[in-house]
């Protein structure tokens, strides 16, 4: 059994990006610029935004932060987005979710210019991905594909089971895994809360991607000997072993499943670290106008 080391793969990606940014600057180019918008004071959200800014700094990107108060209106937020949409020195824009209740998340997601939507949340990016056009792919599915590719795991013709059908993980990763691409070309089954025979289906998977958000749902009986297991879940479990009083666990019972798997992602240190790496790749692509060479989506 091999551990898929997301932290190490993510560092490798960051090194590659750093090298590319250094070249851009050597050629008198402008460093990629990621703008983050945070509404309110939620400590977890603040940490996420902070971590993204740190990662930008590490690879030589410019990053800027826009903090709105939780009391600011939807219109205030839309104006900030519009300002950044029009700023030619800003390549990528992310709006940290969740947003306060008085703000319509769907409306905000659709306000970000698709060319700068490095989170890949705008429906036009979801749609372009679904029909195989170049697109910003959102951080988690993109990170999973990077993990598989960089671990040289064959996906073509394999039975892949995705547990979870969310818009930000299960659905997009199921589409990517089944597309005519490499990685891809797997025979993909999407399972969810209404699936009746989950164990029968999951235990037939060569590649099992679990993104259902239920702590340790997947046990060894649900996994085939030699399967590749990707665990997207992350939960806190009370633990006396840790100073913090809790440890992090995934959607998979790591101890027992790891004995049957050929490859497995740990929690933490598997899919998690890949999300920022994906965001950096997307921001670099945005600065190079790789996805939208012109405003072709109008």
């Amino acid at each position: 059994m091999k551990i898929i080391d997301g932290k190490s793969i993510s560092n490798q990606i960051k090194s590659e990006i750093s090298a590319e940014v250094a070249k851009i600057i050597d050629n008198n180019g402008r460093a990629p610029h990621l703008a983050s918008i945070l509404v309110g004071e939620d400590p977890a959200s603040q940490t996420y935004v902070e971590n993204k800014a740190k990662a930008c700094k590490k690879v030589g990107f410019v990053s800027s932060k826009y903090n709105l108060s939780a009391k600011d209106s939807e219109n205030d937020l839309l104006e900030t987005i519009e300002f950044l949409n029009n700023d030619q020195n800003v390549d990528g824009i992310i709006v940290q979710l969740p947003l306060p209740e008085h703000i319509d998340e769907k409306k905000i997601i659709q306000a970000v210019k698709p060319e700068k939507d490095v989170d890949g949340f705008h429906p036009i990016n979801a749609g372009r991905m679904a029909i195989g056009l170049p697109a910003y792919i959102s951080a988690t599915p993109f990170g999973i594909m990077q993990l598989l590719q960089r671990s040289e795991i064959e996906t073509k013709g394999k039975n892949c089971v995705v547990i979870g059908r969310s818009n930000i993980v299960g659905r997009p990763v199921s589409i990517l895994m089944s597309q005519n691409a490499d990685p891809g070309n797997a025979t993909v089954t999407v399972c969810h809360s209404k699936t009746k025979n989950l164990q029968e289906i999951s235990s037939n998977a060569d590649i099992l991607i679990v993104a259902i958000g239920k702590p340790e749902l997947v046990n060894a009986d649900m996994v085939k000997q030699g399967a590749v297991v990707i665990d997207v879940g992350i939960h806190r479990k009370p633990s006396t072993e840790k100073k913090s009083g809790f440890k992090l666990i995934g959607d998979v019972k790591f101890d027992e499943v790891s004995k049957k798997a050929s490859y497995i992602t740990p929690v933490p240190g598997g899919v998690g670290p890949m999300t920022i790496a994906s965001l950096l790749i997307n921001t670099l692509k945005a600065s190079k106008k790789e996805i939208y060479p012109q405003t072709e989506h109008n």
Copy 2:
């Protein structure tokens, strides 16, 4: 075994639409207006456009046709689309495919205003559908969902296998079948040319949707007793029984599979007639601004 009669279901939909159009006109409203663009003289394409115009007439829609020569430039076509995009009396626009080789199909599809894209081909409509937002769903997948719904076939928790992953049928219908909706909520597996164990997978399906474009690929061994079988294929097979010298067949061996199926669509007369019905539903929705109450996608 029950035959799913697409022709009859499609006529039922047309009657419902007629009744709604009559009401709109009684209330001094404007009849829905579908504009079709045909480039070149391909006889099959001419027939399709003609049939759509006839169907419009039957339900009380206004239809208009724009014929460009096969020699007209991509720009000429873009200008026609732009004209129709801006015409407030036009609700839906369809560009008959395929297009001559010198015209970039992807560019044309993206030139149609999403609000008028009643074919559901624009990436923003594909994306909105994929993430569960209201969207124009393209004719064939929408028609399949209508067939299942109007035949009162339970889909929730069922194993659904889709053979084919095309952007216009396999992919969207697989997403619709697995979404948290009714019909929907099935556990969906997408198979394609790289799938290794097709017979094993397909013979486990409660609902089997075949859209792979291979004449009579699916035989009785590939189908479970009591399965619901939806055949999207349509091919000509030489036949001495017919005056025309050929008969129409699907992707499924109807004679043998129909003996095992609980429900099955015939070819012709199954999925085929539903495509125009879907287009009419979409055009009606466009005229009522049901999908895009405002230009919320900007």
